[in-house]
């Protein structure tokens, strides 16, 4: 992983170049991150890939922030020896959990986004095949949400015992 100075420098470059597209920056936490609005995300993603050379979406995490909504955390890297890396966070409301898909930007986003849809219910608009990837096709609900209740029966098999 790239050293912290390089990561901070990258964040400063991104902020200086994109200006108001970056909603928030925090350089002093363990994992420095930038926060963007969902509508600005495709533009920021293309900037990160084409101008900063971050060519690999290593990780997409989704978090249930309770009343604040749902959050997607993107870990984006450059595939070289130094592994320059940036973390991007996007917060959306639970009523409209829509984030533009970046599967055209990074191929790995395809399955990552399907997983976040399956387990957390974030809708990645523009994804070509947004179907469940882990749960069964006919599963109901998004299991990693905090208010999720697992079904008592699934295909006639009793599910909850405790």
């Amino acid at each position: 992983m790239a050293d912290k100075a390089a990561r901070k420098e990258l964040i400063e470059t991104v902020q200086a170049s994109l200006g108001e597209k970056i909603a928030e920056v925090d350089r002093d936490v363990i994992d420095p991150f930038v926060r963007v609005e969902a509508k600005d995300w495709p533009e920021v993603a293309l900037f990160l890939r084409d101008r900063c050379g971050l060519d690999y979406l290593a990780c997409l995490t989704s978090i249930d922030r309770g009343a604040d909504g749902l959050e997607a955390v993107y870990g984006i890297e450059r595939m070289d020896a130094e592994r320059l890396q940036i973390t991007v966070k996007i917060l959306v409301s639970k009523d409209e959990p829509n984030i533009p898909s970046v599967e055209d930007v990074w191929r790995t986003a395809d399955w990552h986004e399907r997983e976040a849809w399956d387990l957390m219910g974030i809708v990645f608009t523009g994804h070509h095949n947004l179907v469940r990837i882990l749960c069964a096709e006919d599963w109901e609900g998004h299991p990693l949400r905090k208010d999720y209740k697992s079904p008592d029966y699934y295909h006639g098999i009793r599910n909850n015992v405790v």
């Binding site: 882990l134 749960c135 069964a136 599963w139 299991p143 999720y148 697992s150 699934y154 295909h155 006639g156 098999i157 009793r158 599910n159 015992v161 405790v162």
Partner: protein, 182 residues
Amino acid sequence: MGPEGYQELNLTSDSPTRDNILIANVDKLINWTRRSSVWPMTFGLACCAIEMMATGAANYDIDRFGSGPFRATPRQADLMIVAGTVSNKMAPRVKRLYDQMPEPKYVIAMGACTVSGGPYIKHGYHVLKGVDRVVPVDVYVPGCPPRPEALLEGLFRIQEKIEKERILDKHRKGQKPAVLVE
């Protein structure tokens, strides 16, 4: 001629049957052959499968007990070792594989997950809480995962069960029907 309908065996020295007669209890004979060749299905679902592989490998050597050939198809298998966590998505497949096995067939539930859901029993929305909800289980082997010795012990219990079978009884009479998976 003996009793009506039966022909007396010709045991004179020039008869081809003279040296080829074996008299045995049919239950004992058939059960002996069955218990000596319990062929399991190659069927590993999670970490328990690693212990199952170890049981098949040289150190524990399940071949000593006639159970070495792990078949790659249910149609040639006598024993299904359900080794590992059965997810709700996998449960209908497990049931289908069981249905495809020819009688007589036996099931070992190997490990905490297949016995009862194991560590997933409370929060595992995706885990079947015990494989006996979809297929009838003959022997439960607890452990997380069970050591190969424990799995071998489970095999011995299956063999003991086979030895008690009567060929003229309707096979597996009184067996609880498996839960239907739609």
